[in-house]
C-alpha cells in the first residue's frame, strides 16, 4: 500500500489531469476506472496506481461487511416499528467505504442522509445516525468531533456548506480537504451547480463525490442529465472522473488522488461513482413500481463485497477463520444496534426549546415557561 507521504511530497506529486478524464462516455457504456473486476481480478490503471497490503484488503472487507450489516439491521428495525424511516445504502458500500477510507483525519465529510458507510469510516457511532430516523433528534452529534457533518435532507444543500468549509481551509492555510456527497438527482439542483461555481473560482479544496445510484426515487438518471455526470465538471473548469462505484479499491484510489489534488491547491474534483441502489430509496418506497427486476439482477453480479471476497480467496489472503471472525463481529454489531435503538430514550419535550438559539431569546423563554407550566398542570391533576 502507498506509504503515508508528507505534505511536501504530496505537493510535489500533485497530479495533472489523467487522460481518462478527457475521454467521453455514455451511461450505457460507461468508461470507468476499475481496479477490481466483478470476478475479483486485480487490474492496473495507469493514472490511479494502488498498492495494498493484505491487512488493508482485509480491513476494507471488514468495513464493507459491517456497514452492510448495520444497514440491514436498521432496515429490519424500521420494519419492526423501531425507526420511522430508513434510507438504505445497500449496494453502495464500496463507494462509501472506498471514499471514506481515502480521507485523512483533518479532512471533513458533508453527507446526504445515506452516508452510513462514510460515517463508519469517520468513526461516528452508528447509533448516532439512527436518532433522526427514530425521531429523537434531527441529527444531534457534534460534527466537529469526527469531521462528519450532520445529515442533510434538502437535496444538494450540503454541497455549499462543504464548499464554504473548504474555502475556510484555504484561508487557514491548512493541509486538509473536504468531500461533499450527493446523488445523481442532486446534480440537477441549483445549489450543487452553485457549489461547483464557488469551488471552482475560489479553488476550494473540495471533492464532489456523486454516487450515481441510477435512480432518484423513481426517476432514472436520464431524467437528470443527457451527458455522463462526471463530464459536468469540465463546464465548471475542473476535472471529473467516473469510477466503478462497486469497486472499493478504485473508489479508494481515485478519491485519494482527488483529495490530494484538492489539498495541493489545484481546486475541486468531481467523482462520479457509478453504482446502484439495490434496495428502495427509503423504506417508504416501492421500487418494483418503476424498476425492472432484470436490472437489479444484473447489478447483483457486480456486488462490492462478493468481488473483494473473491480476491481475498483467490490470492489466499484470508482463511475461513477470518471470514468467520468478521461474521461474528457482524452479529455483535447487529446486537448492539438493536439494543441501542430499543433503549434509546425519548427526549424530554423541553428539548423543543433547548437549542433554537445559542443566546437567550425572549419568545422562546416565554413559550418554554408556558409549556412547563402547562405540562406541570397535568401532574397536579388540574386538567384531569
Amino acid at each position: 500500500m502507498t506509504v503515508k507521504s508528507t505534505a511536501r511530497a504530496r505537493k510535489k506529486a500533485a497530479p495533472g489531469v489523467p487522460d481518462t478524464l478527457r475521454a467521453t462516455g455514455t451511461d450505457t457504456q460507461p468508461e470507468l476506472v476499475q481496479l477490481l473486476t466483478p470476478e475479483g481480478e486485480r487490474i492496473e490503471h495507469p493514472d490511479y496506481p494502488l498498492t495494498t497490503t493484505p491487512d488493508e484488503l482485509r480491513a476494507l472487507y471488514r468495513d464493507l461487511v459491517l456497514v452492510r450489516r448495520f444497514d440491514a439491521e436498521a432496515t429490519a428495525l424500521q420494519r419492526q416499528g423501531e425507526l420511522g424511516l430508513w434510507a438504505s445504502l445497500l449496494g453502495q458500500e464500496a463507494a462509501q467505504v472506498g471514499s471514506g477510507r481515502a480521507m485523512r483525519t483533518g479532512d471533513y465529510a458533508f453527507p446526504t442522509y445515506r452516508e452510513h458507510g462514510v460515517a463508519w469510516c469517520r468513526d461516528v457511532d452508528p447509533l448516532n445516525l439512527l436518532g433522526m430516523f427514530r425521531g429523537v433528534n434531527h441529527g444531534g452529534w457534534d460534527p466537529n468531533e469526527k469531521n462528519f457533518h450532520l445529515y442533510t435532507i434538502v437535496i444538494g444543500a450540503q454541497t455549499l456548506h462543504a464548499t464554504g468549509y473548504a474555502m475556510g481551509i484555504t484561508k487557514d492555510g491548512a493541509d486538509d480537504a473536504v468531500i461533499a456527497y450527493f446523488g445523481d438527482g442532486a446534480s440537477s439542483q441549483g445549489d450543487v451547480n452553485e457549489a461547483f461555481t464557488f469551488a471552482s473560482v475560489y479553488n476550494a479544496p473540495v471533492v464532489f463525490f456523486c454516487q450515481n445510484n441510477q435512480w432518484a426515487i423513481s426517476e432514472p438518471t436520464t431524467t437528470q442529465t443527457k451527458i455522463p455526470l462526471y463530464r459536468r465538471a469540465s463546464g465548471f473548469g475542473f476535472p471529473g472522473v467516473r469510477v466503478d462505484g462497486n469497486d472499493v479499491l478504485a473508489c479508494l484510489a481515485v478519491t485519494r488522488w482527488a483529495l490530494d489534488h484538492a489539498r495541493s491547491g489545484n481546486g475541486p474534483v468531481l467523482i462520479e461513482a457509478f453504482t446502484y441502489r439495490m434496495g428502495a430509496h427509503t423504506t417508504s418506497d416501492d421500487p418494483t413500481r418503476y424498476r425492472p427486476s432484470e436490472e437489479t439482477e444484473a447489478w447483483k453480479a457486480k456486488d462490492p463485497i462478493t468481488r473483494l471476497r473473491a480476491l481475498l480467496e483467490k490470492e489466499g489472503l484470508a482463511e475461513e477463520e477470518f471470514f468467520a471472525s468478521i461474521e461474528a463481529e457482524s452479529e455483535q454489531l447487529g446486537l448492539r444496534v438493536r439494543e441501542g435503538v430499543r433503549t434509546m430514550p425519548d427526549p424530554d419535550p423541553t428539548l423543543i426549546f433547548d437549542h433554537v438559539y445559542a443566546e437567550p431569546h425572549t419568545l422562546v423563554d416565554e413559550e418554554r415557561a408556558e409549556y412547563v407550566e402547562y405540562a406541570a398542570s397535568f401532574e397536579a391533576g388540574e386538567n384531569l
Partner: protein, 324 residues
C-alpha cells in the same frame, strides 16, 4: 466616535471596526469589493483588508449564504450582503432550512454566527424586486434573529452587535434612509433586541421600525400641532420583539398603531396587534390598528407612494383610534 454620519457611513464604519476587531470576521457579497457595494456600504474595505476578507462572490445568493454556513462551521464569522431585498428569495432554503436550524439540529454543538445584510423596502423609485419588505418570512422562522435600525447610531451599533452574536441575524437596512445623517455615539446604549422610545407621548403609541420610524416621527410632530401627543416606539428588533417595552407604552397611552411598509395581511403588525391585545386588553381604548402596504405586489415606482404608508395615512389611523 460621536460624529455626524449618514446611515451608510455608520454601517461602513461598523464593518470596518468588526473586521479590525476579529480576524475571523469576513465579508462576502456581489460587487462589495472594488465597487464597495451598489450602495457603497463596503466602500474601501477590500482595499484595506484585502480580497480574502472582503470577497466578491459569484452572482448566486444561495451560494453566498450556503458557503457562509460552511465558513461558520470552520470558525469564521461571515457577514454577507444580499444586493437587494428581492434577490434573497433564491437563498430562502439556505436561510430558513439550513442556517436557522443548524444549531438546533446539532443540539447546540455548532454555532452559526452569520449576519445577512439586506438593503430592504421601498421609496427610492427602483424597478421591481428592489423594494420588498420580507421581514415577516424571516421573523416567522425560529432560529433567526431579525433586526432593523432606523438611525445612524443604531445602524452602527446594532450591526456591530449583530456580527458579534453567535446566532444568525437578518440585518435589514432601510435603504431609503441610507443618506440620512445622525450622531453616532461612542457606545451601544441598548441591547440589540431592545425597543426604544424615540418620542414620548400620552395619547397613542405609534410602533414602527426601519424606514417607517421617520414617517411616524413626522406624523407625531404634525399631530402635536393639533394638540395630540403621540408616543413613537422604534421596535429595532423584530425577532425577538421587546414586548415588555411595547406593553408598558400601550398600557400608558391606551392606544396602539403599528406602522410598516410590508403588506398588512399576516405581517409584523398582525402579530404585534394580537399580542398587545392579549396583554393590554383592559387598558385599551381602541383596537390596535395597523397601517401598511396592500395585498399586492410591490407596485411600479410611479405609484409606490400610494402603496407606502405616509404621514397622512398614519394620522388617519390616529384619528380612527382616537374616535373610539
Amino acid at each position: 466616535m460621536a460624529a455626524q454620519l449618514s446611515i451608510a457611513k455608520a454601517l461602513n464604519e461598523a464593518l470596518r471596526k468588526s473586521l479590525e476587531n476579529d480576524p475571523k470576521t469576513l465579508l462576502m457579497g456581489e460587487d462589495i469589493g472594488k465597487l464597495g457595494g451598489v450602495f457603497r456600504i463596503t466602500d474601501g474595505l477590500q482595499k484595506d483588508f484585502g480580497d480574502s476578507r472582503v470577497i466578491d462572490s459569484p452572482l448566486a445568493e444561495s451560494g453566498i449564504v450556503g458557503t457562509a454556513i460552511g465558513l461558520a462551521l470552520r470558525g469564521y464569522r461571515p457577514v454577507v450582503e444580499i444586493q437587494f431585498d428581492g434577490f434573497v428569495y433564491p437563498a430562502f432554503d439556505q436561510i430558513v432550512s439550513q442556517l436557522a436550524k443548524m444549531h438546533a439540529r446539532a443540539l447546540g454543538h455548532v454555532k452559526m454566527p452569520v449576519t445577512i445584510r439586506i438593503p430592504y423596502a421601498g421609496g427610492i423609485g427602483a424597478v421591481e424586486h428592489h423594494s420588498e419588505s420580507h421581514e415577516a418570512y424571516f421573523a416567522h422562522t425560529a432560529g433567526l434573529r431579525v433586526v432593523s435600525p432606523s438611525s445612524a447610531h443604531d445602524a452602527h451599533w446594532m450591526l456591530r452587535q449583530a456580527i458579534e452574536s453567535d446566532d444568525p441575524v437578518i440585518f435589514l437596512e432601510p435603504k431609503r434612509r441610507y443618506w440620512d445623517k445622525g450622531e453616532v455615539g461612542d457606545a451601544a446604549d441598548l441591547g440589540l433586541y431592545d425597543a426604544r422610545i424615540v418620542r414620548p407621548g400620552t395619547d397613542a403609541t405609534l410602533i414602527a421600525y426601519g424606514p417607517m420610524v421617520k414617517v411616524c416621527l413626522e406624523a407625531a410632530a404634525a399631530a402635536e400641532e393639533d394638540g395630540r401627543r403621540l408616543e413613537v416606539v422604534d421596535l429595532r428588533s423584530l425577532s425577538p420583539v421587546d414586548f415588555a417595552a411595547l406593553e408598558e407604552s400601550v398600557k400608558r397611552t391606551g392606544r396602539g398603531i403599528v406602522v410598516h411598509e410590508a403588506p398588512v395581511f399576516l405581517g409584523m403588525g398582525a402579530e404585534l396587534a394580537a399580542r398587545l391585545t392579549e396583554r393590554c386588553f383592559y387598558h385599551l381604548e381602541a383596537p390596535i390598528l395597523r397601517v401598511g402596504g396592500y395585498h399586492a405586489p410591490y407596485p411600479p415606482s410611479r405609484v409606490e407612494e400610494a402603496f407606502l404608508p405616509d404621514l397622512d395615512r398614519v394620522l388617519d389611523a390616529v384619528d380612527r383610534a382616537l374616535a373610539y
